[in-house]
């Protein structure tokens, strides 16, 4: 069907304006991160010195964020994939309630979750000062994304029937889980994993209240640099962060484009 020309023009103009609004500031940030003096402008020359300085100042936060993200991923996978299977097996009211409950840490602002963790577990000294405290917060926040992605991967494969057939043939639960269910949910698990790592690397709202001076993660370092460093250093640090996100987002979009018609992504970083 033909669309009115005015309609199309308005849509195109709005789309380009929104794209400029979203990407313009990112380009500014990238430029500022590699410009010798941002106030003078590009004429002052390009440099990688700021990135080197970021590495000197904040390398530990980058490694720690990767560590936290991988630990979060290990836990969400270990507990999330079985939970998703149970939710698939029992698609009733109780399941919906359970999924609704697990999603609460995403629906409720991170500040509230962090305060609740601090009042209940903050007095346990070794935990409060450990990076594990941050990992727990990240697991709460990312688990629903893993469960949802894995459940989506389990649907349609008629796994319940396959599982019962294998059980009738005498396969143990452990074998059925690892030989039938996990392979069938593979693409869902990969989507969930990329989502979990992306969200964990960028998580700030919980982490800001849960961290200690010795357990700073990348977004905590970013907030620190925005408040106290010159614009070029803050921009270079942001650039490093964007480069860390890039492969994860490309991977997610690649999978989304392959598996569904429209490449909508089921993630949203903590704002």
């Amino acid at each position: 069907m033909r669309h009115s020309r005015c309609d199309t023009r308005l849509g195109l103009a709005a789309t380009l304006a929104v794209a400029a609004f979203l990407i313009g500031p990112v380009l500014l940030s990238i430029t500022a991160g590699v410009t010798r003096n941002y106030f003078v402008g590009l004429s002052s020359g390009l440099t990688l010195d700021w990135i080197a300085q970021v590495w000197d100042l904040y390398a530990d936060t980058i490694w720690r964020s990767y560590g936290v993200a991988l630990a979060t991923l290990a836990i969400t996978t270990t507990i999330g994939v079985p939970a998703a299977w149970v939710l698939t097996l029992f698609p009733g009211r109780l399941s919906r309630l359970l999924e609704e409950l697990l999603t609460l840490p995403v629906a409720v602002p991170g500040l509230a979750t962090a305060l609740a963790l601090i009042v209940s577990w903050g007095s346990v000294g070794w935990l409060r000062s450990s990076v594990l405290f941050i990992v727990i917060g990240h697991v709460l926040f990312t688990l629903p994304f893993m469960v949802r992605a894995v459940r989506a991967g389990m649907q349609g494969a008629d796994l319940v029937v396959l599982d019962e057939a294998a059980a009738t043939l005498g396969a143990s639960r452990r074998r059925r889980f690892f030989d039938i269910i996990v392979p069938a949910a593979r693409s869902g698990i990969v989507t969930g994993a990329l989502t979990v790592v992306t969200l964990s690397i960028g998580e700030f709202n919980l982490t800001w209240l849960l961290h200690t001076p010795l357990t700073k993660t990348l977004p905590v370092g970013l907030a620190d640099s925005y408040a106290s460093m010159r614009l070029e250093v803050a921009s270079a640090y942001t650039l490093v962060f964007l480069l860390m996100l890039l492969p994860l987002m490309v991977g997610l979009q690649w999978i989304a484009a392959r598996s569904t018609r429209h490449g909508s992504l089921g993630l949203g970083a903590s704002t």
Binding site: G11, V86, A112, L115
Partner: protein
């Protein structure tokens, strides 16, 4: 059935983790807000609803979130319609990736991007000074926060609305066109009613996300009076845990309720009644 029941045990770790580290801590937090302590003559919940400075902060947050939500829907709708109706044109994949990349940006980074665009050394200020001689700095107040909210809400909304536009039955639009309905009439009489559910769901998601946003405002300046900053201040600067707890519980309940309503509405729309 008994065979199926045997599986239940493997969901236990997720349930235990949720109970130990989220539900019970939340209950404790809610209890702290209800206790009277530190020479206060009423519970923190009572203080929160009676003291003007707390509900002023709440009103600011609701007004700003509502404004950002409406603006997001108005802007995202033509974008989503355009993208849904033009499934292949050169560069569409790249454009989509660019529109969706900011989904992964945490609030702190969004705040910094707003500063780069509209702060003291921002492009907007430079342009404005060059053109009219007047400085324009938006970043460190409500206007900057509004821009930040638009920034993180637009990518979230465009994806949802695109799927809804793709779901509209084209035959209706074609029939209306054959019968001579103008593009505007087709939009108002067919498209908008078909999109009501998706618009409401997306709007509720935007509102809840904006209400709880902390990182963005944290970067822009902690003197902007919105609820997440008030909670943070009460907790860290005044060590007033009961009030911080009460405000968190109120904020948490509000965002959860809005999201819950939106999800059930979206589910009902998806079932088609």
């Amino acid at each position: 059935m008994g065979r199926r029941r045997a599986w239940l045990v493997i969901a236990a770790p997720a349930v235990v983790l949720f109970l130990a580290f989220w539900l019970l801590p939340m209950v404790k937090l809610a209890g702290i807000g209800a206790a009277t302590s530190q020479g206060m003559d009423a519970s923190a919940y009572w203080l929160v609803v009676t003291q003007p400075r707390y509900w002023q902060s709440l009103i600011n947050t609701v007004a700003l979130s509502l404004g950002a939500t409406l603006a997001t829907l108005v802007i995202a709708l033509p974008v989503s319609r355009f993208l849904a109706r033009h499934p292949d044109f050169p560069g569409r994949r790249v454009l989509m990736s660019l529109l969706l990349f900011p989904l992964a940006f945490p609030g702190v980074v969004v705040g910094f991007l707003v500063i780069l665009a509209t702060g003291r050394q921002g492009v907007l200020n430079t342009l404005s000074k060059a053109l009219s001689g007047e400085p324009v700095v938006l970043a460190y107040g409500m206007a900057g926060l509004f821009i930040g909210y638009l920034y993180f809400l637009l990518p979230r909304t465009i994806g949802v609305l695109m799927a809804a536009v793709e779901g509209i039955d084209k035959h209706w639009l074609e029939a209306a066109q054959t019968l001579g309905a103008s593009p505007w009439r087709r939009f108002v009489d067919i498209e908008l009613p078909a999109l009501t559910g998706a618009l409401t769901a997306a709007g509720a998601m935007c509102f809840a996300t904006a209400m709880g946003a902390f990182g963005t405002v944290f970067t822009l300046g902690t003197r902007i009076d919105v609820l997440p900053i008030t909670i943070y201040d009460e907790f860290t600067n005044y060590a007033n845990l009961p009030v911080a707890a009460a405000l968190s519980v109120v904020l948490g309940l509000a965002t959860w309720a809005v999201l819950y309503l939106a999800n059930s509405l979206a589910a009902r729309t998806a079932r088609g009644n």
